[in-house]
């Protein structure tokens, strides 16, 4: 065992404060960002809970909940044109208004998809309720998460409400499909069109499933190449909009002009893999709402508190051994070797602190889950927070090195 570890173990009471401070930093970072990711992962839930590999939508679409109507036949044909696409289907999603019985209105997110088993767009939240999927095939029927009942003013199955002026009947409730600001309202494509004021022949997204052994990334790249990128223009020109599928030739332009979707002649469709689209949706809301910055700020403050506590603990621990270090210096042991010892101590404090924090984070996530709050603890998040926390601990060690300035062997002589 290294001398640093021996010291840490033997003087564990002294170092406990620093270890807990580091653990607190890591815990704070993981919990805050985990909650944030959990919160915003709700926005990409329709993508994550689908079986589709590829999503094709309106030009420069920012996220799955911000899609605009596109022409169904054109979008599906374009997607189906690729030899590695096995099947395609339409999908509708958009904001609408739910009129409650008491006269109030609620923003809601209508999600319309095919409902047969194995369809790409059917939300996996419906998997456990095959009878509901079947019931939804009746036009004008909807289901939603049971926790949204109160919000939507619905008390029981069979209740009737109005969405965007169209009458709907609630045929059941699901679990695990709670919306962020607007409750998700699941229904068939036929039911969804009037609720989203879409014309027949319009969809919001075309979903594609690639053949076995084909890569969705390759198919997306190929589709983008096949329909060469549009001339530089706006956001697309700057390369920000990775998923832009251009419609270049004249016929296509005309078709685009002719379609009743209100898009300009340079209409470009966006195309993403599911993973890309999911991330794009979450990142959009994360940056748009500045939620990431707010929590990031708090996490940085947590790191600063941790750094100060760790640094001061290491400083006082090192200062208390100053005579022992002075003997070593008298004997010619270089200062860097002693500094390395302090830094090793700091690194171990960091590692142990993180080791304490990670199980605690999972414990808290389980508790949050019981309260219906999702904490998304992705591997990259845990690694990033751990690395940042470890650097903080090592930085605190660097700061504590100033205590070694006082190491003066001559002081040991009486």
């Amino acid at each position: 065992m290294s001398y640093a570890l021996t010291t840490l173990w033997h003087e564990r009471q002294r170092y406990l404060t620093a270890i807990l401070a580091v653990a607190f930093c890591a815990l704070l970072g993981c919990v805050q960002f985990g909650l944030l990711l959990g919160l915003f992962s709700i926005t990409s839930m329709p993508v994550d809970n689908s079986r589709a590999d590829i999503w094709l939508g309106a030009p420069k679409v920012l996220g799955v909940d911000l899609g605009r109507p596109i022409r169904e036949s054109q979008a599906l044909a374009r997607l189906a044109s690729h030899p590695d696409i096995e099947r395609v289907e339409g999908f509708l999603q958009g904001f609408s208004y739910w009129a409650r019985k008491d006269g109030g209105q609620e923003l809601c997110m209508v999600v319309g998809s095919r409902l047969e088993p194995g369809s790409m767009g059917r939300n996996t939240a419906l998997e456990r309720y095959p009878h509901l999927a079947e019931a939804l095939t009746e036009p004008g029927t909807v289901v939603f998460d049971e926790s949204d009942k109160e919000k939507l003013g619905v008390t029981k199955v069979g209740d009737v409400a109005e969405v965007a002026g169209a009458r709907v009947r609630v045929v059941g409730f699901v679990k695990g499909a709670k919306g962020l600001a607007a409750p998700f309202i699941f229904c068939s494509l036929t039911t969804a069109r009037p609720l989203l004021r879409c014309f027949p022949g319009q969809i919001t997204y075309a979903l594609g499933k690639v053949k076995k052994n084909a890569s969705p990334e390759d198919v997306v790249s190929s589709l983008r190449r096949q329909y060469a990128p549009a001339p530089p223009k706006g956001e697309g020109a700057s390369g920000k909009d990775m998923g832009t599928l251009s419609i270049q030739n004249e016929a296509q332009k005309e078709a685009a002009e002719e379609n009743a979707l209100g898009q300009d002649s340079q209409a470009e469709l966006s195309i993403f893999t599911s993973a890309e689209f999911s991330r794009r949706t979450r990142v959009h809301w994360l940056t748009k709402t500045k939620g990431g910055f707010a929590l990031g700020y708090a996490a940085v403050l947590g790191l600063m508190v941790g750094a100060v506590v760790t640094s001061q603990t290491l400083y006082s621990a090192t200062a208390s051994s100053i005579k022992e270090f002075a003997v070593l210096k008298a004997m010619g042991i270089p200062r860097w070797r002693v500094s390395l010892h302090v830094m090793t101590l700091a690194a171990w404090v960091g590692v142990i602190g993180i080791g304490v924090a990670i199980p605690a984070v999972f414990g808290l996530a389980a508790v949050a889950e019981m309260w219906g709050v999702q904490m998304k603890l992705e591997g990259w998040l845990l690694v990033t927070v751990s690395v940042v926390t470890l650097f903080m601990a090592i930085g605190a060690g660097l700061f504590a090195l100033r205590s070694l300035r006082g190491v003066e062997p001559a002081l040991l002589l009486r």
């Binding site: 021996t6 003087e11 004997m331 042991i333 002693v338 001559a410």
Partner: protein, 277 residues
């Protein structure tokens, strides 16, 4: 100032001193509080000698030790150690010099509270000499045996007696096999039984290994163990004497010269020396 020069030193110890202090001066304070802790002191120490530097508190003996050992820069004068003018070296070179040639034992044992006796010693071998764990362990085993600490190796300072702690501190200084061991009041925190144990060990070290020991003390019971006494008073060299080492060596090794020392082996260590005229 009393200078060497009787010829005795050279005859017994050879002509090449391992350590020389030349006209050393060190002052502290300024204005009204200015005082010369060491005032133009010169001395030579020969290889294998066990030298005691004695004097009352404030006589400058620790300051002199610090200058001789490369820990405290003299205001004036030079220190030549193993042919090297150590105060003309830069800090890094002097640090390396101490690493290569010097060991230290202090009054306070200054042992890391969290490390065992073995680890205290191994640490110097590993950090100072870059020894591997196995090498350091082997070296430490030998030393612990010699220090009669083999069965105490696993104990931490809080579990050791004062004498044992000081022996660990000596082991820490010896692991590098230094040419010169500087000791500052190594027995003053110990009762005589433990103090005697420590001083005998230092004495044996100088005889067996040829390690030069320069020891500052105010404990007169150590005198019979010394080859040489350097007596300081008010920062000046008051007198030097030679030859009390009755415990481990027969007196005939060091001929008695009238007026220098009384070579009789004391039945019990007591202060017995005569100053050079």
């Amino acid at each position: 100032m009393i200078q060497e020069g009787t010829g005795f030193n050279e005859r017994v110890w050879g002509s090449d001193p391992i350590l020389q202090g030349l006209d050393l001066v060190r002052a502290f304070g300024d204005g009204g509080s200015f005082s010369r802790a060491v005032d133009e002191v010169s001395l030579e120490v020969h290889r294998g000698q066990f030298v005691l530097m004695m004097g009352p508190s404030g006589s400058g003996k620790s300051t002199l030790l610090a200058m001789l050992s490369g820990l405290l820069r003299p205001d004036e004068g030079r220190v030549i150690c193993m042919g090297e003018d150590i105060w003309s070296l830069n800090d890094k070179e002097r640090e390396q010099f101490r690493l290569d040639h010097c060991g230290f034992v202090f009054q306070g044992y200054n042992l890391f509270p969290s490390l065992t006796a073995r680890e205290q010693i191994e640490l110097v071998a590993r950090w100072g000499q870059g020894a591997t764990a196995a090498e350091a362990r082997a070296m430490t085993d030998v030393l612990l045996e010699r220090l009669n600490l083999a069965d105490r190796a696993h104990l931490r300072p809080a579990q050791l007696s004062g004498g044992e702690k000081q022996r660990v501190a000596i082991g820490r200084a010896l692991i590098k096999a230094p040419d010169i061991l500087f000791a500052d009041e190594p027995t003053s925190a110990l009762d005589w039984a433990h103090g005697e144990e420590v001083v005998k060990m230092l004495r044996e070290l100088s005889k067996d290994n040829g390690t030069t020991v320069v020891c500052v003390t105010h404990d007169h019971r150590l005198v019979p163990f010394a080859d040489r006494l350097v007596d300081l008073e008010d920062g000046r060299l008051k007198r030097q004497s030679y030859g009390f080492h009755g415990v481990t060596e027969p007196a005939s090794h060091h001929p008695h010269e009238p007026g220098e020392i009384n070579p009789a082996i004391p039945a019990k260590p007591t202060l017995r020396y005569r100053a050079t005229p």
